[in-house]
Every structure is written in structure tokens, then in C-alpha cells.
């Protein structure tokens, strides 16, 4: 039973990451549409911000794995 609660916790962490990275992607696309000549800088920043958020989400996944395994 604790295994499934851990899995739900990990899923919630991933949900947060999905929402966050989706918003970053959306803002990046808006910014590129406004100023196409800055696209490479915007793309680099987007990738960095997405990787940082993914790091935090994986914190949650790791805690989920620790809770699920015994």
C-alpha cells in the first residue's frame, strides 16, 4: 500500500514539472514570435530553465522511489 502512495507522490511531482516546463515552453515561443532574431538566446535560456525545473521534479521522484522500495 505504501508503494502506491509513493507512486502517487512521484506522479504529483511530475505533474508540477509538466505544468512548469509547459509554461516555460509557451513563454519561449511567444518571445521568439515577437523577436525572431533573438531565437538562439531564448532557446538556450529555455533549455537551462527547463533542466533546472526537471532537477527539482526528479527530487520528488527520488523520494518516491525511496518510499516505495523498502
Amino acid at each position: 500500500m505504501y508503494g502506491s502512495i509513493a507512486a502517487i507522490g512521484a506522479g504529483l511531482a511530475v505533474l508540477g514539472a509538466g505544468i512548469g516546463i509547459g509554461r516555460i515552453g509557451g513563454s519561449a515561443m511567444d518571445a521568439i514570435a515577437r523577436q525572431p532574431e533573438a531565437h538562439s538566446k531564448i532557446q538556450t535560456t529555455m533549455i537551462i530553465a527547463a533542466a533546472l525545473i526537471e532537477g527539482v521534479a526528479l527530487f520528488g521522484v527520488v523520494v518516491g522511489m525511496l518510499g516505495g522500495a523498502k
Partner: protein, 365 residues
């Protein structure tokens, strides 16, 4: 035009013909009743081990048996074959299930799930499913250590060749291997200049280059399914811990007066709040490298788990036809993992440069 049309149809018919027998393929006898232990197999592939398993299952396995080096009142070395070739003994583990462990042929040591314990009378005591015995210091060459050596040799060959080219020919346009690696090295240099500053970046550039190439090459090696690749080195939390500790030590020992004054006397904070701010800032010195460690470990391990779980679809259903679904999905995830391998290396180097830059920054109020 009509030739292309018929060529496409011909190829489509050929592929359909070749795939059809796979649908009727099924496992010939063997262990049909035994369920495939997905979690156990995935964990076995992710974790470190004292042997490098090549192929085969319990009855006829082929592995490379790596040396075991222990410090137990002196140096003790033997091949891990002494463990893996003996009959496993059973015990009841913490979850109440029967589990196996190995006892070395001369009876001095036992190995429970890759952890080595010292035996007193040739018997291992268990206390609520956990072994209760002393552990000698384990300096064995394990799968991860061997993979690290191999990755280090690759990095040395690549970078020393590049350096040798410039030493011989001076500051000219590179050719060959140097031409291939120059954009990467310039990228690391740009990371350093952007984050640390024009005047101080040269001191830290060797560390950043090493960290970037170490993480990138070992991540890529982990994607190769056959020896000497395929060991999950950067997904081993001890390895990422050491890398993060290096970054932390560099940050702390290069901190100038501005850096420490930001920690102990954060500007703009009333004196009454300082007893709260100082512990927070001190813990902040630790949490940033901690995040570096967890980020790299979790990204690599999670990627490997996904690929292994997708391939396990074939084994759970015991039918090779599931490969038509599982292999393209695993291929897609593997290509994503190649991107993640590079991205995590870039990110680790960039964040390390950022932390070092914050430490050596000139105060500019």
C-alpha cells in the same frame, strides 16, 4: 515515378513478410511458469556489481568476473568467481520473501546483494532480514570502477590528442580530432567567461572542462548496451556526490571577502534578522551542490529505468512480437537520453561556473 511507387510497395510487402513469423514465435519450453521479476531485473541493470554480466541466465551465464579487493587486517584479493560460482544459500529478507546470498568457497566472506560481510564461523547471522556481521573495507574493482577507468582512458586520448595538435602547430585552424572537439571546448570556455568573468576564469577552466567531458563521455558510455559501455556510472550517487563535493570545495576555498560577507552579513538585512539569515545562508552553501548531485543522478537513473522498462515489455509477455511496439518506443527514449546526456553535462558545468563566479565576484555596490 511508377518505379518509385512499386519500390515502396515492394519494400512494404517485404517488411510485412519478415515480421509475420515473429508473431508466431514463442518461448520454447523453459521457465514458462515463472513470472518475470521486472523490478529486480531493472535494479540489477542499474546497480553496481562485482561481476560484469554479459549474457545468459541462472543456468548458463557468461560474465566477466572482476577482482575483489578488501582491506581486512591486511590486503585480501580474490576473483569474484569465488562468490558467483558457489551455490547460493537462502535467507528470508526484510519483506518476508526468500532471497539468496553467496558464501565464498573458503568460507571467510559472504556477499548479500553485492555487499560483502565477514564471517565468524563460516555462517552469516540474520537479524530481521538484514545480515548482522562486520564489513571489511571494500576497494574492489566493480563494474562502475572499470567503466570509470575506460571512460578516463577515452577522455585522456581525446583531450591529449587535441592538446598535442595545438602544441605542435600553434594557434592555427585545427584539423582532425582537434577540429571536432574545438567547438565543445570553446563552449566550455564561453560558459566560464560568461559566469566567472574575464579576469578570473582561466584558473577554473581546467576543472570545468574536466567535469564537462567526464560527465558527457560517461553518460554516453552508459547508453551503449554492450561491454565496455552500459555501466550506469553517472547514475551512481557516490560518483555524483564526489563531483558535487569538488564544486563545493572550489566554491568555498575561492570565496573572497565579498562572498563571505554576503553569507554572514547579508547586505540590506536588519541586524535582528541575522540569527535567522546566517544558518539559512550556511545551509545554502550545502544545498546547491546537493541539488547538482541529485539532478545528475536522478536524470541518468530515471532514463535508464525507462529504457529498461520498455524493453522488459517483451519479457513480461514472453513473446518476441511485442518487440514491434517496445523497440521503437525504446529507440525514441534512447535518442532523448542522448540529448539528456549532453544537457546534463552542460548544465553541471554551467551551474558549477555560476557558483564559482558568485564566490569570486568583485563587490560592486
Amino acid at each position: 515515378m511508377s518505379l518509385v511507387y512499386s519500390m515502396k510497395r515492394f519494400l512494404l510487402a517485404l517488411i510485412a513478410l519478415l515480421v509475420m513469423p515473429v508473431v508466431f514465435a514463442n518461448e520454447k519450453g523453459g521457465k514458462q511458469e515463472e513470472e518475470y521479476d521486472v523490478t529486480g531485473e531493472i535494479m540489477h541493470h542499474i546497480s553496481d556489481a562485482h561481476e560484469w554480466h554479459l549474457w545468459g541466465d541462472d543456468d548458463a551465464t557468461t560474465s566477466v568476473y572482476l577482482p575483489i579487493i578488501l582491506i581486512d587486517n591486511g590486503l585480501v584479493t580474490f576473483s569474484s568467481k569465488e562468490f558467483y560460482h558457489t551455490t547460493p544459500r537462502e535467507f528470508v529478507n526484510a519483506e518476508g520473501k526468500t532471497d539468496h546470498y553467496f558464501v565464498e568457497s573458503t568460507g571467510r566472506y559472504a556477499m548479500v546483494h553485492e555487499e560483502i560481510y565477514k564471517l565468524t564461523n563460516g555462517e552469516l547471522e540474520f537479524h530481521e532480514g538484514h545480515p548482522k556481521a562486520e564489513s571489511p573495507l571494500d576497494f574492489s574493482i566493480t563494474k562502475n570502477v572499470l567503466s570509470l577507468f575506460f571512460g578516463a582512458i577515452i577522455i585522456l586520448i581525446l583531450l591529449l590528442t587535441t592538446a598535442g595538435f595545438y602544441k605542435k602547430n600553434g594557434a592555427v585552424g585545427p584539423k582532425g580530432l582537434a577540429k571536432f572537439l574545438e567547438p565543445m571546448i570553446l563552449m566550455v570556455r564561453n560558459i566560464a567567461v560568461d559566469n566567472i568573468g574575464e579576469h578570473k576564469y582561466k584558473r577554473f577552466l581546467p576543472f570545468l572542462t574536466t567535469v564537462f567531458f567526464f560527465i558527457w563521455i560517461n553518460n554516453m558510455l552508459g547508453m551503449i548496451p554492450i561491454i565496455p559501455g552500459g555501466a550506469n556510472l553517472t547514475g551512481n550517487i557516490s560518483v555524483t556526490l564526489v563531483l558535487a563535493v569538488f564544486t563545493m570545495l572550489l566554491t568555498v576555498f575561492s570565496g573572497n571577502k565579498g562572498y563571505w560577507s554576503h553569507i554572514f552579513a547579508t547586505p540590506g538585512v536588519p541586524v535582528a534578522l541575522l540569527p535567522i539569515m546566517i544558518p539559512i545562508e550556511l545551509v545554502g552553501i550545502l544545498t546547491k551542490p546537493f541539488a547538482l548531485m541529485i539532478r545528475l543522478f536522478a536524470n541518468m537513473t530515471a532514463g535508464h529505468i525507462i529504457v529498461l522498462a520498455l524493453i522488459s515489455i517483451i519479457f513480461i509477455n514472453k513473446n518476441a512480437a511485442w518487440g514491434a511496439l517496445s523497440v521503437p518506443m525504446a529507440l525514441f527514449i534512447s535518442v532523448l537520453e542522448i540529448l539528456v546526456a549532453f544537457l546534463q553535462a552542460y548544465l553541471f558545468a554551467m551551474l558549477s561556473a555560476l557558483f564559482i563566479g558568485a564566490a569570486v565576484e568583485e563587490a560592486h555596490h
